[in-house]
Amino acid sequence: AQSVTQLDSQVPVFEEAPVELRCNYSSSVSVYLFWYVQYPNQGLQLLLKYLSGSTLVKGINGFEAEFNKSQTSFHLRKPSVHISDTAEYFCAVSSSLTSGGYQKVTFGTGTKLQVIP
């Protein structure tokens, strides 16, 4: 069964500092990977996704993530955070099936990014 782990439930970081939010998944087959952001009292919106091709994926708001198959990771990074980046971030995975197609998306438990002025 597929799963995704976000080890850090909360990450405090000072404004203009870099940040990395960690995501590891368990799957030995092809995967689709996603990062979503949830601002307070709102639904989730897609930050970026990896389906195939280049392992470095760029998303909205200056975020990027790198797919590392050997380490089964898809960490999210931003070189300089802003107050407006304060939100909860969810990693999600969908693994391929031996019968064809992909499994339904599984979400991680989320990481709350707190940007400190």
Partner: protein
């Protein structure tokens, strides 16, 4: 562009009451989903639909029912509310399974 619209935004139910959470999307997406979000637990899939007339259970379907009579609408029904159903519920849609999902703003439900 409305996207995915959920109503109501907030609701308090008494134990044993029933209610329907409404969800509608204007993107002509075939796939629709209902998730619940509990603190520290991420999102859990309740039910999903791959098109009008076709629905299937997700990870946590007990205590819920759904229907999909049109492409646009995917209501979630709670028949006998229980305190364990206190949660934030999100409806989402996508044009294919496992591609980008578009989420509504959520319904915060409290069962007392």
């Amino acid at each position: 562009n409305a996207g995915v619209t959920q109503t109501p935004k907030f609701r308090i139910l008494k134990i044993g009451q029933s209610m329907t959470l409404q969800c509608t999307q204007d993107m002509n997406h075939n796939y629709m989903y209902w998730y619940r979000q509990d603190p520290g637990m991420g999102l859990k899939l309740i039910y999903y639909s791959v098109g009008a007339g076709i629905t299937d259970k997700g990870e946590v379907p007990n205590g819920y029912n759904v229907s999909r009579s049109t492409t646009e609408d995917f209501p979630l029904r709670l028949e006998l509310a229980a305190p364990s159903q206190t949660s934030v519920y999100f409806c989402a849609s996508s044009n294919r399974m496992n591609t980008e999902a578009f989420f509504g703003q959520g319904t915060r439900l409290t069962v007392v």
